[in-house]
Amino acid sequence: MKLRLLLARPEVKRLVSCLVGVALIELMTGPSGSSTSPTAGISGSYAERFSFFGLFQTVRCVTFLFVALVIFGLWTLWLTWGRRWRGALTSASVAGAVSPVDVGRGRTMLVGFARAIVKFRTMTRLRQVRMVFLLALLAFATVLPHIETDPFWQAAMVEQIEVFVLLALGLNVVVGFAGLLDLGFVAFYAIGAYTTAWVTGALPTAAPFGIHLNPFFAIPIAIAIVMVAGVVLGAPTLRLRGDYLAIVTLGFGEIITIFANNLYGITGGSEGTNQIPHFSIHLGPINYAWGLGPVPYYYLTLVFVVLFIVAFSLLEHSRVGRAWTAIREDEVAAESIGINPLKYKVMAFAIGAASAGFAGVMTAGQTFFVNPSSFVLPVSILILVLVIFGGMGSIAGVVLGAIVIQGVTLYLIHSAPGWYQSSDQLIYIGALLVVMMIFRPAGLLPSRRRKREIGMAEAGEGHMDELLTGDTP
């Protein structure tokens, strides 16, 4: 009984969660067991000799106990000081100035900082400031390949970051704008890539009309085919809602992968093809060929990333974007003012698919091979994670989400610290998502609308998560 009372105290709860959390991290980062001594992984994780921050040698559990206590201390500090700090921030934003009550000994710096943040936030609402900021980012993106010359990163920036930014942008239209849960988004990516392989003549099946195009001209064809695929999948299935739609799209994603794997004579089966030529353009006086190096591809993709960002943000703030919001919030009410939900949902599917299709062309053209293993379910889930992590419905958010998650993953692959085991990658991403869901449930850079919706759903208002309710108004 006494123990229960003790455990119920908030500071004890905090301490226990710090200890448990750190013990789990200790186990994960520790050595692995083997078949002869299966418990070696566990005992080693706690008892192995370990350096205490380079100061002296001790065992792992001592170092980690220290880490747990530090986290506990910081957490407790945050609860007392952080609340005050946030209070200062709110009063600063409400009054435009900090009230004299908050200004005390030792807190002046804090308040100054709060004031600066509020000022920054107000400034970013200004259109001109935003434009300058975005142009600066674009300039940075333009010079980036000249700053980072490591070939690993140069290739990764195209294959892993830009391509996934495109995929996240596309899925954001479907999930973030229209509110449709698509678990098979990778299918559109695959169709884009295989279409490229097909029209360039790289597949076992003959190219259309026997003309072998180069991937540059595959871009419009692939985007068109992928959009048609979006309509073909969307028109019959988008009558379903919520979980049902998620299952159907999941199935669609699997079907495409299985087709790619098993239609040996058409797709090349599990080996796929590695015959895709490089991009080149020959139009009158313009002659340019993209070679083996990743940097030219980086710029080509960057152009399209910018195009898609501009197009999608215009779309978000247009009639179409508002109609999507209306459908997402309350489909029955949207219908009552003359909005055809099916039409707008299919439109979201097709438009979202377009950028995935382009991502497919880029992947195929740059790496010159496609095979089914790049288009499996975990990739669909990853794209969804990027969108949720960045902030559903927020274009800046999903771009940042894709860069952060992919960047961290690549960093761990390329220059992993000693304790990192690549098989643990998903555990870390999962932990990151759990932490994010606690502290920033609407994503890194949430969209204003979506943030309101999530806030209201938590307060029990609004219709956002009423996925399974009937139509009865």
């Binding site: 109609a323 209306a326 029955v332 003359g338 909005i339 919706e453």
Partner: protein
């Protein structure tokens, strides 16, 4: 024969074995404020949902006569088609787009007529800009009309019940309807808001020429607003007539707990 806007002819609506509407026939004249009253579960909202294409009755016909257009059979049409033809509505429990502001809510209604699709939006050409401007102006006009101009940038979820009703009415009017269906507009509002709503509803008809079809429990409001009433009970029409006729109709009194008009007021 007067100018009809709605003609409901022998309509029956069933959900499995439950009969929701039983051989209902009624009509509304253009420009009329018509009310449908009845006890809870009498089928009033089912009637509304049938009129707006949300429910599909198994028997009978519902015809909507739009001005300067062909008569349209409502049954079998999707809700958004019916709305597009000129039938606007509000909901019993108000349904707004709660993460959007008052202005955005109404604007969505105002632009549901414009034909600019995704391509136009992405290019943002002059036609799109013109439409945007037109719907902005229309939205402001309507917010002025319903008296929500000063709350244009308020989040719709933080509006009072009375203001939510006004917002729903403005959103419905934004679609340029010929008839506005109001499902219990006074539910959850206080007496002064009720009075304001009654005036607004009358103004919608008088200034905009929009016919009004009304479901309401508040007898005082119904009797002061409606020019003609239908009474529904257990899915059937049991009476029709002017407010005075309905007050003294024995079948109606029977339906409302078998006593006087005071009992009807208490029902509200």
């Amino acid at each position: 024969m007067s100018d009809l806007i709605f003609d409901v002819d022998h309509v029956s609506l069933r959900f499995g074995g439950v009969i929701s509407l039983n051989d209902v026939s009624l009509h509304q004249n253009r420009g009329e404020i018509l009310a449908v009253i009845g006890p809870n579960g009498a089928g009033k909202t089912s009637l509304f949902n049938s009129l707006t294409g949300v429910y599909q009755p198994q028997e009978g016909t519902i015809t909507f006569y739009a001005k300067d257009a062909k008569a349209m059979s409502v049954i079998g049409k999707k809700a958004h088609r019916v709305a597009g033809a000129g039938v606007a509505r509000t909901f019993q429990a108000s349904r707004m787009f709660s993460a959007l502001t008052t202005f955005e809510n109404v604007k969505i209604g105002a632009e549901s007529h414009h034909g600019i699709g995704a391509v136009g939006a992405m290019l943002k050409g002059p036609a799109t800009r013109r439409d945007e401007k037109a719907s902005d102006e229309r939205t402001i006009d309507l917010l002025n009309f319903v008296g929500l101009r000063d709350k244009a940038n308020t989040l719709s979820a933080s509006l009072s019940y009375g203001d939510r009703r006004r917002l729903e009415i403005a959103r419905g009017l934004a679609t340029q309807p010929q008839v506005l269906l109001l499902d219990e507009p006074a539910a959850g509002t206080n007496p002064s808001e009720k009075l304001g709503l009654a005036n607004l509803i009358r103004k919608v008809r008088d200034d905009m020429g929009v016919s009004i079809l009304l479901i309401e429990h508040d007898m005082k409001l119904v009797m002061s607003l409606a020019e003609r009433l239908y009474v529904l009970n257990f899915g059937s029409v049991i009476a029709e007539g002017s407010p005075a006729e309905i007050r003294s109709n024995p079948a109606v009194i029977e339906a409302y707990l078998g006593s006087s008009v005071e009992a009807m007021d208490e029902q509200a």
